[in-house]
Symmetry: C2
Subunit: 247 residues, 2 copies
């Protein structure tokens, strides 16, 4: 997958998006990391490759388990070919344990309190509004999705949670929560999109240590983050010894 | 209802609360009005009496229709005797038309777009957090209420909405939305509490003019607000000619 001949159509905080052809895009994972609404920002060599590789790994697992994802191909480095979709302006968050923004809105919950059954919540994707929490009725009333589509998204998100939990559990990691996004293909079918990486899930190892972006949110230290991401890959059996972290 | 012999146990932005006896409280409606998280604050002679009177009026209507409310007695001025309850830390908002904070979180909705069916949403009552929106699972997981209790609250809130809409409709007013609060009595029964006034509902007259606190939120002018509250009472057939608005 080569990008220099493709047209850049979007550059986000952690990815660039290129047009490959009428039906496909190229996602290029950047070495930048940002947190706290962009207040923390840093460059970490190797981070883009790791996140592309972790995402490719999880999309492959999910595809095998029958979840439709946008993933098509991975170049072994920082680029991924994906299906072109019309994205829903939603962040879908699945939570197994109380954490993060959930504790801020409802401090009566104990940190890391188990949520059984897991919960699915929705945020309207808009940086300028800080991706606010919305309720199911907002999604239907605004026409983002129909009631049936929303039920499909909830069911699929919980199924994805089951699959991810199993993978992490075999790696002796505990899945706290994760964020996913969906888009529509030509036939209006809802497909899992975006990425699945340490930037979008939170996992704890046996010692309660984060192997995810929380490390950077807390410390602002890109070196500690890349160490955590390397350990994450080791736990998952994802090869990283070919990556040049020092340049 | 006389308060000077009673113990003040709480003073909020618009009400004082006194202990009457083991089972009853006195609510005293103040002449203060605040908006925008306390950034706007003013004193309006007569506002306390009007809001006490409007609340007494609506609680009486709801009691007659079989809704359990905390309302016991009204002194004709700014004081109301109510049942002592253990309040839930929730603001329950019922919306018939998209407005206010809903448009802020989901700007895809059109202002005053009809919400059919009406929606019920929940906010965690905490000024320092700006009463954040929460989801149903947060309420259950935090132990604020059980699943059955929450269903009761939703059903009761929608029934209250039906009753209020009917009253307003007869007064040629359109009910946009309102905020209510519930508490538990000794037997853990959920009872409608707090107040029902121009401070807690939004209504439009035939010309699309607000007869509610929105007037003050927008203009910061206490005189315009009291004029709107007087018109509201006139529309509802609530007597105000005995109130001294000038002192």
């Amino acid at each position: 997958v080569c990008t220099h001949t493709y047209t850049l159509i979007y550059e986000g905080k952690s990815k660039r998006v290129y047009v490959k052809n009428r039906d496909e895009l190229i996602l290029e994972f950047k070495d930048e990391v940002t947190a706290r609404d962009g207040a923390l920002r840093s460059f970490i060599r190797g981070k883009g490759i790791i996140n592309a590789r972790v995402s490719a790994y999880f999309f492959s697992v999910l595809n095998k388990k029958g979840i439709d994802t946008h993933f098509l191909d991975y170049d072994g480095a920082r680029k991924m070919a994906v299906k072109k979709l019309r994205m829903l302006p939603l962040e879908v968050i699945v939570r197994n344990y109380a954490y993060g923004s959930q504790l801020k809105r409802i401090p009566l919950l104990k940190p890391l309190q188990e949520l059984n059954p897991p919960i699915v919540e929705f945020h309207y994707k808009d940086d300028s509004l800080h991706d606010p929490l919305i309720i199911v009725d907002d999604i239907i009333n605004s026409g983002i999705a129909t009631h049936e589509e929303l039920n499909f998204i909830i069911k699929t998100s919980l199924r994805i949670n089951d699959i991810l939990r199993e993978v992490f559990s075999e790696a002796k990691l505990k899945l706290i929560d994760f964020k996913i996004e969906f888009g529509r293909d030509r036939d209006n079918k809802l497909i899992l999109a975006d990425e699945i990486s340490g930037d979008t899930f939170r996992v704890l190892d046996d010692n309660g240590k984060h192997l995810d972006k929380e490390v950077f949110r807390r410390t602002g230290d890109p070196k500690l983050l890349i160490d955590a991401y390397i350990r994450l890959c080791e736990k998952l059996g994802i090869k990283v010894d070919d990556i040049d972290f020092h340049g």
